[in-house]
Symmetry: C2
Subunit: 419 residues, 2 copies
C-alpha cells in the first residue's frame, strides 16, 4: 500500500468530518500568501501548507529535490521529477503531519488558514485535449441533434474521440468570466447575427494532468499510462451552445469553448485515488489491441453541479459519477500517443462531459433541460434552461468508502454579463 | 517607410542574387553554434548573426533591452517586448551591416556560416490554432467528400473557420518524422483496423506568430491585429488522410494532425513583408462588422512544394500564393478573440492549406492527385498519389518585386517508415 494512504492515520492539524482534505489526500496546488509570496503547497483540513518553507527548513531531507522546486509559480517542474518523487514527497508530508509525531516548530512560516491564501492555477498547461468519453452524453447529444436510432457516431465505440482545446484560457476556480459574444445563425434566419451568447452552458468534467512523456514518435501503452498521470482536477468546460452549433462543422468546436475553461485549484494525485478504483463499463464491440487494458481503471468519484443565482442559495442540478465513463484515462492516453504524439508535464486532458444514466445525473444544461424544453426550477423559484448572467456554477467531487473521504474541493465560477 | 526596408541598402556581408535573405529581410530565429551555445540570431545572405553577442558588445545601445534578451532558447521574451522594440532592433541591425558603415570588429564572435549552425524551433508555441481560409481548398475538399453543388459549408463565407491544434509536436525544418500509425476504417469494412497510415499528406500553409494580446475577455479588432503579429513562417501541416476520415466526426481532426507539424526556422517579420501587401479576394456576402477591415491585408508570397524521393532530385508538385487566401490574418485574429479568448507571445496560427485556382497550385496531395485518382509523375519516373517512406517534402516561399526578394528559406522534412 502507498504509505500516505494509510486509512488509520490522523493528523495533528484539525480536520472536520466531511472535509475533502484529510491527511490521506495531500493534493498539490499553488497559492499566494498574504505576504504576497507565491509557493507550491498542499492542504490538510482547512490549513494550507507552504512546501517551499518546509523544504527550506530541511523537512524533505533524504529526497532528491532541487532547492527551488517548490518556489515556483507552477507545479510543472515538480511533476517533471516523476512518480517516485511525487510518492516520496507525499509519504513524507503524511509523516510530518501525523498525530503520532510532535507538532512542527515554525508553524507561522509553514501553515496558513485557507481563507487567507489565494489559490492560483496549479500548472502551466502546455497543451489541453478534451475527450468525449461518456456514452450517455454522446448518446444524448446524438439523440437531440441527429437521429435517436443512430445516436452514436460509427467511430464512437472504437475510438476515445478527442480534440484539441485552448490552453491560454484555462482559469482557476474563483475567477469570474464574461458571457462570450459571437456569431450565431438563428433558427429560420438566412444570415448570421452577432451578439452575446444566448445558450451559455457548463460541462461537468474532470481532467488529468500528465507528466513528461516519451520523445515524439513513441507511444505510451495502457499498461504504462498511469505512470504518466500526476493527478486529477474538476473541470468546467464552459460552452456557448449557439456559437458552437453554427461554427463547429466540419473542424469541431472553437470559439464556443475557448473563452474560458475553469479547473479546481488542488490536483488530487492518482495515488490518493487508489482506494477508489472500480471497474468501467463493458466495452462491446471489443476494442483494438492497443486499447485493451487490465485491471480496474475507472474511479468511483461522486460529482455534482449546483447553480447559485445572485444573492440566493444554490440549487443542485446534477449528481453524476466519474465511474460512468466508457473510456478510461489509460485508454485516452494510449490513444492520444499511438501516432507518436508527445506529451509534457502539465498537459491537461479533459474527460468530456460526464453524464450518468438518468436525467438527474446529466452533465450539462443542454441535456438537463433537453435543449431548453424542460426548464429546471431553482430554490428561489426562478427557472433555468441555460446559465444566466450573475449565476455562479459550482462543481464538487469526492470519493468515499469505509468512512474515508478524499475530495477535490470545488470549481466555482461566476458569469458576468457580456462586455 | 520602415528604415530597415530601404530597398537601396546593401550589406557588407555578401548576399547572392536570389537569396531569400538580403539586408532588407532581417528575420529572427534561434540557433546553436558549433561551440554548443544557443542564441537568438538573424541572417544576411548565408551568414547567421549572433544577436546575443552583438548585444553584449554594446551594438544595441539606445534600445531598451534586457541584458539576456537574446540569450534565450526561444524568441518569446523578445516578442513580448512589443512592436516598437522589434522595429528598433531591426533598424539597428540594418544600420550595423550597411555597406556604408565599416565592418564590425569581433566578426568571429558574431558571424557564423549558415551550414555550421543548427537551427532550432524559433518560439515556444503556447497555443497553436489552424484556420481553413482558402476558398479553393475548402471547395476542393467539399467537392470530393460531400456535394460538388454545395461544396462550401453554410458557415464558410461568414466565419474564418478554425480549430485548435497540438503545440507539443511542432518541429523545425530538418527534423525527420515517422509515418504515424492509427485506426482507419477501410472501404467496405465493418470493423476498423490498426496500422501505419496509408495516405500521408502535406498541407502547404503559412503561419503567423503572435505577440502578447489583451486580458481574457477583451478582443483585438481587425484594425489592431497587425500590432499583435510578430511575423510569419512556412508551415507543413502534416496530415494522415485515412486516420482523419475515420476519426474527425464530430469534433474535428485529432491524431491525423498531431503527430508532427513542421515550420521553417526563420520568422520573417510583418514589417519585412510590408512592400508586398496586396488586396485579397472580394468577400461576398458582406461580412459581419467585426470582420470588416480597411486597406490591403493580403501579401503576395510565392509558395511552392517539392517532393524529393530518396537519392534522386526533387520534383516541384505545386506553385501557389498566399494572396489567394479568402480570409486574411487580421480577420483571423479578430475572429479568434471576439469571444474574449486571450493570446500570448509565441502562439502560432496557421493559414489552412493554401490552394490556388488551378490543379498545379493545389496545396495538398489529396487535391493534386484528386484523392489518388491522378498520380503525379516524379522526375525519376516514379509516381506519387500520397507521400511515401523516405520522401522529403520541401516547401519554399518568397516575395519579389522591383528586383527585391524577401524569402522564408524552406521547411524540409523527411518521412521515415513507421516505428
Amino acid at each position: 500500500m502507498i504509505k500516505a494512504n494509510d486509512p488509520n492515520r490522523k493528523s495533528w492539524i484539525p480536520v472536520e468530518k466531511d472535509s475533502d482534505f484529510p491527511i490521506q489526500n495531500i493534493p498539490f496546488g499553488v497559492f499566494e500568501t498574504t505576504r504576497g509570496d507565491v509557493t507550491i503547497g498542499t492542504r490538510i483540513g482547512d490549513t494550507a501548507i507552504d512546501l517551499a518553507a518546509l523544504h527550506q527548513l530541511g523537512y524533505f531531507e533524504g529526497i532528491e529535490l532541487p532547492d527551488d522546486i517548490f518556489m515556483q509559480e507552477s507545479l510543472n517542474p515538480f511533476i517533471s521529477l516523476g512518480k517516485p518523487t511525487w510518492r516520496a514527497v507525499r509519504d513524507k508530508i503524511a509523516e510530518i503531519f501525523d498525530s503520532n509525531n510532535i507538532e512542527i516548530k515554525h508553524k507561522a512560516e509553514v501553515l496558513h488558514e485557507m481563507p487567507s491564501v489565494k489559490m492560483k492555477l496549479p500548472v502551466e498547461v502546455g497543451d489541453y485535449t478534451d475527450f468525449y468519453s461518456s456514452r450517455e452524453h454522446a448518446t444524448n447529444v446524438g439523440t437531440m441533434f441527429r437521429d435517436p436510432d443512430n445516436a452514436l457516431m460509427p467511430n464512437w465505440l472504437h475510438i476515445p474521440v478527442g480534440y484539441h482545446g485552448r490552453a491560454s484560457s484555462i482559469i482557476p476556480s474563483g475567477t469570474p468570466i464574461h458571457r462570450p459574444k459571437g456569431q450565431t445563425m438563428p433558427k429560420d434566419a438566412t444570415e448570421p447575427v452577432f451578439g452575446p451568447c444566448k445558450l451559455l452552458d457548463f460541462e461537468l468534467e474532470t481532467a488529468f494532468i500528465t507528466a513528461d512523456g516519451k520523445p515524439l514518435g513513441d507511444n505510451i501503452t495502457t499498461a504504462e499510462a498511469e505512470d504518466y498521470i500526476f493527478g486529477m482536477v474538476l473541470f468546467n468546460d464552459w460552452s456557448a451552445r449557439d456559437i458552437q452549433k453554427w461554427e463547429y462543422v466540419p473542424l469541431g468546436p472553437f470559439l464556443a469553448k475557448n473563452f474560458a475553461s475553469s479547473i479546481s485549484s488542488w490536483i488530487v494525485t492518482l495515488d490518493a485515488l487508489e482506494p477508489y478504483r472500480t471497474a468501467g463499463p463493458t466495452q462491446e464491440p471489443k476494442v483494438l489491441p492497443y486499447l485493451e487494458y487490465e485491471g480496474d481503471k475507472n474511479y468511483d468519484i461522486n460529482l455534482e453541479v449546483a447553480i447559485k443565482p445572485e444573492n440566493t442559495e444554490e440549487t443542485c442540478v446534477s449528481k453524476s459519477n466519474f465511474k460512468y465513463l466508457y473510456w478510461n484515462m489509460a485508454q485516452q492516453l494510449a490513444h492520444h500517443t499511438i501516432n507518436g504524439c508527445n506529451i509534457h508535464a502539465g498537459d491537461m486532458m479533459g474527460s468530456g462531459t460526464i453524464s450518468g444514466p438518468t436525467p438527474d445525473s446529466y452533465g450539462s444544461m443542454l441535456e438537463i433541460s433537453w435543449q431548453g424544453t424542460k426548464p429546471v426550477t431553482m430554490k428561489d423559484g426562478t427557472e433555468r434552461k441555460f446559465i444566466l448572467d450573475n449565476d455562479t456554477v459550482i462543481m464538487r467531487g469526492y470519493c468515499e468508502n469505509n468512512g474515508l473521504r478524499i475530495g477535490f474541493g470545488e470549481v466555482s465560477t461566476k458569469v458576468l454579463p457580456a462586455k
